[in-house]
């Protein structure tokens, strides 16, 4: 029992991070119908920027920890968003209106570019960060196992929940969110209503990158080590999460993220850790057989 609860906590934490990344995939897919394969690498860039900001703040020294975290968060978000915007501007926008596979290939190119760029600048070795948020609660205790809920895990889940709330309000209540939904449905008509479609798409990439930046920072704080390659697998998992939840559906992305996180954790805990990725991807296959549009995706109804 204690072991199960512990794995549940770990799974939700991991799932939160996946969910944050998955939203970037699903949003971009919704609005321009392409899979942004470079999104995982934007997440990786985000965690590197967080690392560098932390080190820089450490050199400056002696800042009150919550303030240091906040500064790092803001710096990471701004710079990562700039990366996301630039990728869209350079690699995808010129290809808009060309055949469907063109931006996809361009995205794979961007992904490889970003990996190599970080590898060249930061080296191929893993970069560590000493634990920043330490301490934990002990929830349950038995003879030889105690359930631990660390402050870091609370932070991750809390930050994710807050961001989701902000994000949901943004999409449903603000002019920008409405414009995004309009572009999703009919971008030509949206432009006829005076909506700047290009800018709306740019903002979508920026919002996705902001969430990926936060995910990157949380990942760094949680695991304490990063390298230039983390974006690939995390991106793959998040993409799987987005598809599992129903690509194009925002609550679906979050749900998918949680499911993938939980499956991975439980599989590693009860079966073999080497096959945790296999388990996650197998569930995707199974779900897609029974729900071809994902769990919360809307089946496409062609109205004549």
């Amino acid at each position: 029992m204690e072991y199960f609860v512990q794995q549940l906590i770990n799974g939700v934490t991991l799932g939160s991070i996946y969910g944050l990344i998955a939203i970037g995939y699903t949003m971009v897919y919704g609005i321009i119908g392409m899979i942004n394969f470079a999104h995982g690498d934007i997440f990786m860039v985000g965690s590197f920027i967080a690392l560098m900001t932390f080190i820089a703040l450490g050199i400056l020294g002696g800042i009150w920890l919550p303030l240091a975290l906040l500064v790092t968060l803001l710096v990471t978000m701004v710079i990562t968003a700039a990366y996301g915007w630039t990728v869209e501007r350079l690699a995808y926008r010129p290809l808009r209106g060309s055949f469907r596979l063109a931006p996809l290939i361009s995205a794979i190119g961007m992904s490889i570019f970003l990996q190599n760029y970080v590898q060249l600048l930061q080296g191929a070795r893993v970069r560590p960060l000493q634990p920043v948020i330490e301490g934990h609660f002990i929830l349950m205790k038995s003879a030889h196992f105690s359930v631990v809920l660390s402050y870091m895990q609370i932070t991750i889940v809390l930050v994710t929940v807050i961001l989701m709330a902000i994000f949901a309000t943004l999409i449903s209540k603000t002019a920008l969110g409405r414009a995004q939904r309009a572009c999703e449905q009919d971008s030509l008509m949206a432009s006829l209503l005076g909506i700047n479609v290009d800018r709306t798409i740019s903002l979508t990439f920026i919002i996705g990158s902001l969430l990926a930046a936060v995910a990157g920072m949380l990942f760094l704080l949680y695991y304490g080590v990063i390298d230039f390659y983390i974006g690939f697998l995390a991106g793959m998992k998040a993409f799987t999460a987005a598809v599992l939840g129903g690509i194009g559906s925002l609550p679906g992305a979050m749900l998918g993220g949680l499911i993938i996180g939980l499956i991975e954790t439980f599989w590693s805990a009860y079966f073999t850790i080497e096959y945790k990725d296999v388990a996650a991807f197998s569930v995707l296959v199974l779900v897609l057989i029974f729900f071809p549009t994902g769990l919360l995706g809307q089946p496409e109804v062609e109205k004549v």
């Binding site: 943004l170 002019a175 409405r178 309009a182 432009s191 209503l193 005076g194």
Partner: protein, 289 residues
């Protein structure tokens, strides 16, 4: 035919508009004007280039040559040089489509609020004001909803306000398209076959709506329509196209009696007596071509 004063200002001035697709000339040197507070109908047989003119006006195509000048609020907008969304945002041209293009997954009310995007986006200050629900944004949103409600009332759609646009009956969807176009505060409203598929009752309601828009809001209307009963009844000015050329231009009476127009619609070898008779019948004829 409505007695509109002759001194309405010129709103749209189309000069020598030509649109070529490769070797095909879809529009060949067409010039005409449309005035504010008037309904200008563009008619012509299928393939005459009517919708192509709309596509040039709304930035879907950039004309091969020609000048599309829109005059209002003391400035001139050259539509052929503007980016698509700026034509609505700055020059205030709105358009509806032959095949309805609503945002089906949004509610009727939201469709009308999206149309007021630019006002709301400015009020939402990079979305921060919108997210925090600040006073300025709430105020702007309230105004947007009021405006939407006004047009819902005008088009008789108030009862549908919270339904998804895709679930509306056909006639209501057509009216919603017009309401949405009006929410962008247009100076020129381009309607592509608004009466298509409407029954006679709906069609006469549409006429009343268009007259209301024209008289109360001083909008210039540009109308493509096959239904001659609509065209003859509400147009102040008719432009007739055939094979991409303008063949006639004038008041409904002038156009209906123009032998060139009759020939284009009915073919060459008609009895010489026919034109007079057809001219009399024309307002009542439903054109099903």
């Amino acid at each position: 035919m409505n007695g509109t004063p002759e001194d309405q200002p010129v709103l749209l001035q189309v000069e020598h508009l030509t649109m070529k697709f490769g070797g095909l000339t879809a529009i060949d040197d067409v010039s005409f004007t449309a005035k504010a507070g008037e309904i200008t109908a563009i008619i012509g047989p299928n393939g005459a280039g009517k919708t192509t003119i709309f596509n040039c006006l709304t930035g879907f195509y950039s004309p091969t040559y020609g000048r599309l000048g829109l005059h209002h609020s003391d400035s001139e907008f050259l539509l052929e040089r503007m980016e698509g969304f700026r034509i609505t945002q700055q020059a205030h041209v709105a358009r509806t489509f032959q095949n309805i293009r609503l945002f089906g997954a949004m509610s009727v009310l939201e469709n009308l609020i999206v149309a007021q995007h630019n006002v709301l986006m400015r009020a939402s200050k990079l979305s921060f004001a919108g997210l925090l629900g600040m006073k300025g944004y709430r105020q702007a949103e309230k105004e947007a909803i009021n405006k939407a409600r006004y047009w819902l009332q005008r088009t008789g759609l108030l009862e549908y306000a919270d339904q998804d646009a895709a679930n509306l009956p056909y006639g209501a969807q057509r009216r919603l398209e017009i309401a949405r176009a009006m929410c962008t505060r247009p100076a020129l409203l381009c309607l592509d076959e608004p009466a298509a598929g409407l029954n006679p009752k709906e069609s006469s309601e549409l006429n009343a709506l268009l007259n209301y828009i024209k008289n109360e809001h001083q909008v210039g209307l540009l109308l493509i329509e096959h239904d001659m009963s609509v065209v003859m009844e509400i147009s102040d000015h008719i432009v007739v196209l055939d094979y991409g050329r303008k063949i006639s231009d004038g008041t409904p009476v002038m156009v209906a009696n123009d032998p060139v127009v009759i020939r284009a619609y009915l073919g060459e070898d008609e009895d010489s007596q026919l034109p007079q008779k057809i001219a009399e019948d024309l307002p009542g004829v439903r054109q099903d071509a």
